[in-house]
Protein backbone atom coordinates (compact mmCIF):
# COMPACT_ATOMS: atom_id res chain seq x y z
CA UNK A 1 0.00 0.00 0.00
CA UNK A 2 1.23 3.50 -0.74
CA UNK A 3 1.93 6.05 1.97
CA UNK A 4 -1.15 7.99 0.89
CA UNK A 5 -3.28 4.90 1.38
CA UNK A 6 -1.63 4.15 4.70
CA UNK A 7 -2.31 7.64 5.99
CA UNK A 8 -5.92 7.29 4.89
CA UNK A 9 -6.24 4.02 6.77
CA UNK A 10 -4.64 5.37 9.93
CA UNK A 11 -6.84 8.44 10.17
CA UNK A 12 -10.10 6.71 11.15
CA UNK A 13 -8.11 4.43 13.42
CA UNK A 14 -6.83 7.43 15.32
CA UNK A 15 -10.22 9.11 15.42
CA UNK A 16 -11.61 5.96 16.96
CA UNK A 17 -9.29 6.10 19.98
CA UNK A 18 -11.18 7.09 23.13
CA UNK A 19 -10.39 10.67 24.14
CA UNK A 20 -9.40 11.86 20.68
CA UNK A 21 -11.62 14.78 19.69
CA UNK A 22 -9.87 15.88 16.49
CA UNK A 23 -7.06 14.92 14.17
CA UNK A 24 -5.04 17.95 13.05
CA UNK A 25 -2.68 18.27 10.13
CA UNK A 26 0.87 17.19 10.87
CA UNK A 27 2.37 19.07 7.99
CA UNK A 28 4.26 22.25 8.76
CA UNK A 29 2.28 25.30 7.74
CA UNK A 30 4.54 26.28 4.87
CA UNK A 31 3.79 23.01 3.14
CA UNK A 32 0.10 23.80 3.07
CA UNK A 33 -1.53 26.29 0.79
CA UNK A 34 -4.51 28.28 1.93
CA UNK A 35 -6.82 26.20 -0.25
CA UNK A 36 -5.63 22.96 1.18
CA UNK A 37 -6.23 24.18 4.68
CA UNK A 38 -9.91 24.22 3.87
CA UNK A 39 -9.83 20.44 3.09
CA UNK A 40 -10.62 20.40 -0.55
CA UNK A 41 -10.41 17.24 -2.58
CA UNK A 42 -6.65 17.60 -3.05
CA UNK A 43 -5.94 18.17 0.59
CA UNK A 44 -2.85 16.37 1.80
CA UNK A 45 -3.47 13.66 4.40
CA UNK A 46 -3.61 14.76 8.03
CA UNK A 47 -1.22 12.05 9.16
CA UNK A 48 2.32 12.51 7.91
CA UNK A 49 4.38 9.55 6.81
CA UNK A 50 8.03 10.32 6.20
CA UNK A 51 10.51 7.84 4.83
CA UNK A 52 14.24 8.08 4.97
CA UNK A 53 16.57 5.31 3.79
CA UNK A 54 16.61 3.82 7.27
CA UNK A 55 13.30 4.57 8.91
CA UNK A 56 9.68 5.47 8.44
CA UNK A 57 8.18 8.03 10.79
CA UNK A 58 4.46 8.44 11.34
CA UNK A 59 3.43 11.78 12.86
CA UNK A 60 0.00 12.39 14.30
CA UNK A 61 -1.31 15.67 15.76
CA UNK A 62 -4.44 15.31 17.84
CA UNK A 63 -6.85 17.26 19.94
CA UNK A 64 -7.80 15.54 23.18
CA UNK A 65 -11.14 15.90 24.89
CA UNK A 66 -11.05 17.74 28.21
CA UNK A 67 -12.81 14.86 29.92
CA UNK A 68 -10.01 12.47 28.97
CA UNK A 69 -6.34 12.65 29.97
CA UNK A 70 -3.80 13.83 27.43
CA UNK A 71 -0.91 11.50 28.41
CA UNK A 72 -3.06 8.36 28.42
CA UNK A 73 -4.80 9.33 25.19
CA UNK A 74 -1.53 10.04 23.43
CA UNK A 75 -0.26 6.63 24.51
CA UNK A 76 -3.44 4.97 23.26
CA UNK A 77 -3.10 6.66 19.88
CA UNK A 78 0.50 5.48 19.63
CA UNK A 79 -0.53 1.94 20.49
CA UNK A 80 -3.29 1.92 17.85
CA UNK A 81 -0.94 3.22 15.18
CA UNK A 82 1.87 0.90 16.26
CA UNK A 83 -0.47 -2.07 15.87
CA UNK A 84 -1.07 -1.03 12.25
CA UNK A 85 2.48 -0.11 11.21
CA UNK A 86 4.58 -2.60 13.13
CA UNK A 87 7.50 -2.41 15.56
CA UNK A 88 10.07 -0.77 13.27
CA UNK A 89 8.35 2.54 12.60
CA UNK A 90 8.91 5.71 14.59
CA UNK A 91 5.60 6.94 15.93
CA UNK A 92 5.25 10.55 17.02
CA UNK A 93 2.04 11.68 18.69
CA UNK A 94 1.61 15.33 19.54
CA UNK A 95 -1.31 16.71 21.51
CA UNK A 96 -1.91 20.14 19.97
CA UNK A 97 -5.06 21.02 21.83
CA UNK A 98 -7.08 19.98 24.84
CA UNK A 99 -10.72 20.83 24.25
CA UNK A 100 -13.79 20.91 26.44
Amino acid sequence: MSDLELAAVLEPLVRGVAGVSTVYSSLPLLAQSAKQITRGADAPPLIAIDRSSTAVTVTINVGVSGSAQAPATAAAVAAAVRAAVGADAEVVVRVSRVLD
Binding site: Q69, A78, V95, R97
Partner: protein, 200 residues
Protein backbone atom coordinates in the same frame (compact mmCIF):
# COMPACT_ATOMS: atom_id res chain seq x y z
CA UNK B 1 13.44 70.91 -4.63
CA UNK B 2 13.32 74.08 -2.61
CA UNK B 3 10.80 73.71 0.16
CA UNK B 4 11.11 77.24 1.51
CA UNK B 5 9.26 79.56 -0.84
CA UNK B 6 10.42 82.56 1.06
CA UNK B 7 9.05 85.12 -1.34
CA UNK B 8 5.57 83.74 -0.84
CA UNK B 9 5.50 83.11 2.88
CA UNK B 10 4.99 86.33 4.78
CA UNK B 11 5.59 86.38 8.46
CA UNK B 12 2.61 86.21 10.75
CA UNK B 13 1.57 89.37 12.52
CA UNK B 14 4.97 90.97 12.12
CA UNK B 15 6.54 88.36 14.41
CA UNK B 16 9.26 87.45 11.96
CA UNK B 17 8.00 83.87 11.83
CA UNK B 18 6.21 82.21 8.92
CA UNK B 19 3.35 79.74 9.00
CA UNK B 20 5.84 76.95 8.45
CA UNK B 21 7.77 78.13 11.51
CA UNK B 22 4.60 78.19 13.57
CA UNK B 23 3.67 74.78 12.25
CA UNK B 24 6.97 73.39 13.42
CA UNK B 25 6.76 75.27 16.75
CA UNK B 26 3.41 73.67 17.39
CA UNK B 27 4.71 70.22 16.51
CA UNK B 28 7.58 70.43 18.95
CA UNK B 29 5.22 71.38 21.74
CA UNK B 30 6.04 75.10 21.78
CA UNK B 31 9.37 74.40 23.46
CA UNK B 32 11.81 75.95 23.79
CA UNK B 33 9.50 78.94 24.13
CA UNK B 34 9.86 81.74 21.62
CA UNK B 35 8.68 85.07 23.07
CA UNK B 36 8.12 86.68 19.69
CA UNK B 37 5.56 83.98 18.93
CA UNK B 38 4.06 83.56 22.37
CA UNK B 39 3.52 87.30 22.78
CA UNK B 40 2.08 87.87 19.35
CA UNK B 41 -1.72 87.86 19.13
CA UNK B 42 -1.95 86.85 15.52
CA UNK B 43 0.55 84.04 16.01
CA UNK B 44 -1.44 82.75 18.94
CA UNK B 45 -4.59 82.92 16.87
CA UNK B 46 -2.97 80.94 14.07
CA UNK B 47 -1.63 78.35 16.51
CA UNK B 48 -5.11 78.01 18.01
CA UNK B 49 -6.54 77.46 14.52
CA UNK B 50 -3.91 74.83 13.77
CA UNK B 51 -4.79 72.97 16.93
CA UNK B 52 -8.47 73.25 16.16
CA UNK B 53 -8.23 71.78 12.67
CA UNK B 54 -5.97 69.04 14.02
CA UNK B 55 -8.60 68.08 16.58
CA UNK B 56 -11.30 68.29 13.90
CA UNK B 57 -9.32 65.87 11.76
CA UNK B 58 -9.26 63.34 14.55
CA UNK B 59 -12.98 63.90 15.05
CA UNK B 60 -13.54 63.38 11.33
CA UNK B 61 -11.94 59.95 11.37
CA UNK B 62 -13.82 59.06 14.55
CA UNK B 63 -17.05 60.12 12.85
CA UNK B 64 -16.20 58.06 9.76
CA UNK B 65 -15.75 55.07 12.02
CA UNK B 66 -18.98 55.71 13.89
CA UNK B 67 -20.91 56.01 10.64
CA UNK B 68 -19.43 52.78 9.29
CA UNK B 69 -19.42 50.42 12.22
CA UNK B 70 -20.27 47.23 10.38
CA UNK B 71 -17.52 44.80 9.49
CA UNK B 72 -18.26 42.90 6.31
CA UNK B 73 -18.34 39.22 7.24
CA UNK B 74 -16.63 37.93 4.12
CA UNK B 75 -13.89 40.55 4.56
CA UNK B 76 -13.43 39.28 8.09
CA UNK B 77 -13.42 35.70 6.86
CA UNK B 78 -10.50 36.40 4.55
CA UNK B 79 -8.53 37.77 7.46
CA UNK B 80 -9.23 34.67 9.49
CA UNK B 81 -8.46 32.21 6.74
CA UNK B 82 -4.97 33.66 6.63
CA UNK B 83 -4.15 33.54 10.28
CA UNK B 84 -3.43 30.26 11.88
CA UNK B 85 -2.52 28.99 15.25
CA UNK B 86 0.38 26.93 14.01
CA UNK B 87 2.99 29.47 14.96
CA UNK B 88 1.65 29.53 18.48
CA UNK B 89 2.16 25.81 19.06
CA UNK B 90 5.51 26.39 20.69
CA UNK B 91 7.77 23.63 21.86
CA UNK B 92 6.87 20.01 22.38
CA UNK B 93 6.58 19.13 26.05
CA UNK B 94 7.48 15.46 26.49
CA UNK B 95 5.10 12.85 27.87
CA UNK B 96 6.47 9.50 29.00
CA UNK B 97 6.48 6.95 26.23
CA UNK B 98 6.27 3.15 26.31
CA UNK B 99 9.17 2.44 23.98
CA UNK B 100 12.16 4.19 22.41
CA UNK B 101 10.57 4.39 18.98
CA UNK B 102 7.52 6.23 20.28
CA UNK B 103 7.63 9.94 21.08
CA UNK B 104 4.66 11.47 22.88
CA UNK B 105 4.26 15.15 23.64
CA UNK B 106 1.86 17.94 24.32
CA UNK B 107 2.56 21.34 22.79
CA UNK B 108 3.20 24.47 24.83
CA UNK B 109 0.31 26.05 22.96
CA UNK B 110 -2.02 23.29 24.11
CA UNK B 111 -0.90 23.76 27.71
CA UNK B 112 -1.43 27.49 27.63
CA UNK B 113 -4.79 27.07 26.01
CA UNK B 114 -5.93 24.63 28.65
CA UNK B 115 -4.70 26.92 31.43
CA UNK B 116 -6.64 29.76 29.86
CA UNK B 117 -9.75 27.59 29.45
CA UNK B 118 -9.52 26.53 33.11
CA UNK B 119 -9.49 30.15 34.26
CA UNK B 120 -12.17 31.24 31.79
CA UNK B 121 -14.48 28.50 33.02
CA UNK B 122 -14.78 30.27 36.35
CA UNK B 123 -17.61 32.76 36.49
CA UNK B 124 -16.57 36.34 36.00
CA UNK B 125 -12.97 35.55 35.10
CA UNK B 126 -11.03 36.16 31.91
CA UNK B 127 -7.48 34.95 31.68
CA UNK B 128 -5.03 37.32 30.00
CA UNK B 129 -1.39 36.42 30.02
CA UNK B 130 -0.17 32.89 30.68
CA UNK B 131 3.54 32.34 31.20
CA UNK B 132 5.44 29.13 31.79
CA UNK B 133 8.66 29.82 33.66
CA UNK B 134 11.29 27.17 33.37
CA UNK B 135 12.11 24.68 30.66
CA UNK B 136 9.08 22.49 30.04
CA UNK B 137 11.01 20.34 27.58
CA UNK B 138 13.36 19.10 30.28
CA UNK B 139 11.63 16.28 32.09
CA UNK B 140 11.47 16.74 35.82
CA UNK B 141 12.53 20.35 35.89
CA UNK B 142 10.19 22.52 37.91
CA UNK B 143 7.81 24.94 36.21
CA UNK B 144 6.20 28.05 37.63
CA UNK B 145 2.97 29.03 35.92
CA UNK B 146 2.09 32.72 35.95
CA UNK B 147 -1.40 33.88 35.02
CA UNK B 148 -2.94 37.31 34.92
CA UNK B 149 -6.71 37.54 35.14
CA UNK B 150 -9.46 40.08 34.86
CA UNK B 151 -12.32 39.79 37.34
CA UNK B 152 -15.78 41.31 37.50
CA UNK B 153 -15.81 44.57 39.41
CA UNK B 154 -16.83 43.83 42.98
CA UNK B 155 -15.62 40.23 43.10
CA UNK B 156 -13.99 38.72 46.16
CA UNK B 157 -10.61 38.92 44.53
CA UNK B 158 -8.72 36.61 46.88
CA UNK B 159 -11.29 33.83 46.67
CA UNK B 160 -11.54 34.07 42.91
CA UNK B 161 -7.77 33.95 42.47
CA UNK B 162 -7.58 30.91 44.73
CA UNK B 163 -10.29 29.10 42.77
CA UNK B 164 -8.44 29.81 39.56
CA UNK B 165 -5.18 28.59 41.03
CA UNK B 166 -6.70 25.30 42.12
CA UNK B 167 -8.53 24.70 38.86
CA UNK B 168 -5.43 25.40 36.78
CA UNK B 169 -3.25 23.18 38.93
CA UNK B 170 -5.74 20.35 38.63
CA UNK B 171 -5.89 20.64 34.84
CA UNK B 172 -2.12 20.64 34.58
CA UNK B 173 -1.93 17.47 36.68
CA UNK B 174 -4.51 15.78 34.46
CA UNK B 175 -3.06 16.64 31.10
CA UNK B 176 0.68 17.04 31.58
CA UNK B 177 3.54 15.45 33.44
CA UNK B 178 5.09 18.76 34.37
CA UNK B 179 6.52 19.31 37.82
CA UNK B 180 4.52 22.35 38.89
CA UNK B 181 6.36 24.37 41.50
CA UNK B 182 3.75 27.09 41.73
CA UNK B 183 0.74 28.62 40.04
CA UNK B 184 0.83 32.40 40.51
CA UNK B 185 -2.44 34.16 39.81
CA UNK B 186 -2.38 37.95 39.60
CA UNK B 187 -5.47 40.09 39.15
CA UNK B 188 -4.40 42.81 36.74
CA UNK B 189 -7.70 43.99 35.36
CA UNK B 190 -11.36 44.43 36.19
CA UNK B 191 -14.31 44.44 33.87
CA UNK B 192 -18.03 44.90 33.98
CA UNK B 193 -20.55 42.70 32.29
CA UNK B 194 -22.72 44.72 29.90
CA UNK B 195 -26.14 45.77 31.24
CA UNK B 196 -25.04 44.89 34.73
CA UNK B 197 -26.42 41.38 34.34
CA UNK B 198 -24.83 38.53 36.23
CA UNK B 199 -22.08 36.69 34.40
CA UNK B 200 -23.25 33.53 32.68
Amino acid sequence: MDDHLTEETPDIGGSGYTLEDLSEYLDRGRTPAIAAIDDNAECQSVLASLERVGALSRDLVAQDAALNPAIDESWLASVFSSITREAKAGRDIPLSSPDPRTRLSITEGAVRELVRAAGDAIDGVFVGRCDLDGDPTETGSGIRVGISISVVLGSAVHDVAETVRQRVYSELLTHTELTIEAVDVTVTDVHVIANGSAPE
